[in-house]
């Protein structure tokens, strides 16, 4: 077996009195889409937050390409090529699409010590290209994100992740609050990830979505991994039982 792209070993996380992750082992192979399912409180959100740098583990190790890494902040996760799309809180509604796309990674005309003047022209052009690349139609990159529908917003979030050439895209329940049509569009995008050379981790409550779009399914319960199988060797019933 080849070296996994992401390899998590014996990961522990405690919150005030709660043992949220109890020694989790988790591998993701390059070029696959891995479905991560589990009931509320199973620890999947915690695992994702650790991988995306929002939280830090109390114990355990994370390897990327077999190399030990410390993910200390969202920024350091992004530098490692890990982008995360959350169900609703991934963008700022009071800002334009162009500004949202580049928050934290703005192209600058010149800079001193990381601070400088925005290159707004490049932001607008980059935004238009990124949006067109994910097959999304919006009127203008200057439109406020708050004016878009839930599906369009998720599209912008995806465009953002793709624009920065992420290697791993984590989608945390991306289809919550979306219409049926928008949901199928997002799932279609998830299926197309391997073809674009991107590895995906899809978190969902909906087992059908996971079976439709993933090659492998991992089930978490009570802070541990309880099932890890290729999708075509398991079925909805087995996964439901594991939950």
């Amino acid at each position: 077996m080849t070296t996994p792209l992401i390899s998590v070993r014996n990961l522990h996380k405690w919150y005030a009195g709660v043992h949220a992750l109890k020694g989790v082992d988790f591998d993701v192979q390059a070029g696959e889409v891995c479905g991560l399912v589990g009931d509320n409180g199973a620890g999947k959100s915690t695992l994702i937050k650790i991988l995306s740098g929002v939280q830090r583990p109390n114990r355990g190790e994370i390897k990327i390409d077999g190399r030990l890494v410390q993910i200390t902040s969202p920024k350091s996760a992004m530098k490692l090529g890990i982008e995360t799309i959350y169900q609703d809180n991934s963008m700022v509604p009071t800002m334009s699409i162009a500004r949202n796309l580049f928050i934290g990674r703005e192209p600058l005309r010149f800079a001193i010590g990381g601070l400088g003047l925005l290159d707004y022209q490049r932001m607008r052009e980059g935004a238009m290209r990124a949006i067109a690349d994910v097959d999304l139609q919006v009127r203008s990159p200057d439109a406020l994100l708050g004016e878009l529908s839930g599906g369009q917003r998720q599209g912008v979030a995806i465009a953002r992740a793709m624009h920065f050439k992420s290697r791993v895209l984590i989608l945390d329940e991306p289809t919550n609050h979306l219409s049926v049509k928008e949901t199928s569009k997002v799932l279609g995008f998830v299926r197309s990830l391997p073809a674009q050379g991107v590895t995906g981790i899809l978190i969902s409550h909906n087992l059908h979505h996971v079976f439709q779009s993933c090659q492998r399914i991992v089930v978490m319960a009570r802070g541990q991994m309880v099932l890890d199988k290729p999708v075509d060797e398991t079925n909805v019933d087995e996964v439901s039982d594991a939950l």
Binding site: S52, V54, S73, P74, K75, M78, T84, Y86, N89, S90, M91, V92, P93, T94, M95, R99, F102, I103, G104, R105, E106, L108, A111, L115, G116, L117, L118, Y120, L144, G146, E147
Partner: protein, 325 residues
């Protein structure tokens, strides 16, 4: 109509500009032409930089999602400290710089306490309002210390420009306002301020150093307030320990009138200036129109409520129109 709404949504401070023009016309007529006379404008432009600087600081802080109620007290503390230091023999420039450091320290304390204990900045800075005011009074013993007439305060107070219309303080104000506007609208840091105030969790998840952003805004706000107070004291020639009382709420009112959203994320430096100018115009115009000056606070209060109601109504309406379009 639809076009108007679009313009409004993109430039919320324009409503303030429109009101400014209307009020100017009204006051000009009511005061029989005194309002726009050179003498009167000169007085108003002397006062604007002082409160304008405070409003800019408060507006930027509000955009990143926090409040500072201690600016009125800071407005008094920094000039009092500078007066005391220069009286003790500290040269002018080091005293100015030390004064700014003191202001920065208070801002840092505001931010540090708010962020570390995760409490509303409304409360932290309300406490700081009392603490800093008390410090100011204790330091001075309640009496204004003497301000040596040898100090080169002319760099802020002397009249410059054609016909001596404006004071040097106005030039300082313009330069600082331009820098602040460029930072907020055109720099990546400004982008982070907006993102932090617009949606804290999202900004954090997108890699914005949200804590550092808020901290910086707290410090900047406090320094601008201290600097504004210092300019005023240099103009008046007496570091009264009581100046700036009530200024914190006037600054919030100016920000809100200028289109800044109370919840953060929306607002501009230009809006802050328009708001501050509107308040000055009302203050001055009421007097010139021979209305009892005690109506001033009533007018500012009414305008603040009106501005917030109008803003939220217009934002809702504008959004509905856009969704239909």
């Amino acid at each position: 109509m639809r076009r108007l709404f679009r313009i409004y949504l993109e430039k919320p401070e324009l409503a303030g500009v429109a009101l400014l023009i209307v009020l100017t016309v009204v006051f000009e007529i009511r005061s029989d032409g005194v309002f726009l006379s050179a003498e009167n404008l000169r007085g108003m432009l002397g006062l604007l930089p002082e409160v304008g600087l405070v409003s800019i600081g408060v507006t930027i802080l509000m955009i990143c999602g926090e409040f500072d109620l201690s600016v009125g007290s800071m407005f008094a503390l920094m000039p009092v400290c500078i007066a005391l230091m220069t009286n003790a023999g500290v040269p002018f420039i080091p005293a100015m710089l030390l004064g700014l450091v003191i202001a920065a320290a208070v801002g840092f304390a505001n931010g540090f306490i708010t962020l570390t204990f995760n409490i509303p900045s409304f409360i932290t800075t309300l406490g700081m309002l009392f603490i800093v005011r008390s410090l100011t009074v204790v330091l001075t013993g309640g009496f204004p210390p003497l301000l040596s007439s040898d100090l080169p305060t002319g760099v802020f107070t002397q009249f410059v420009g054609p016909g001596g219309m404006i004071r040097a303080s106005f030039m300082w104000f313009v330069i600082i306002a331009l820098i602040a506007a460029a930072m907020l609208g055109g720099s990546n840091f400004g982008n982070w301020i907006r993102a932090t105030g617009g949606f804290f969790d999202a900004a954090a998840a997108m890699g914005v150093p949200v804590r550092r952003v808020k901290m910086t805004c707290f410090v900047m706000c406090s320094m601008l307030a201290g600097f504004g107070g210092t300019i005023q004291v240099f103009r008046l020639g007496a570091p009264l320990p009581s100046i700036g009382e009530g200024l914190e709420l006037q600054a919030v009112a100016a920000a809100v009138i200028g289109g800044t959203a109370l919840m953060g994320g929306i607002g501009t430096v230009f809006g802050a200036i328009v708001g501050a100018l509107l308040i000055r115009v009302i203050d001055n115009g009421l007097v010139l129109s021979q209305v009892d000056a005690n109506w001033f606070k009533c007018a500012v209060g009414g305008l603040t409520i009106f501005a917030v109601v109008a803003n939220s109504w217009l934002r809702r309406t504008a959004r509905r129109i856009k969704v239909e379009a």
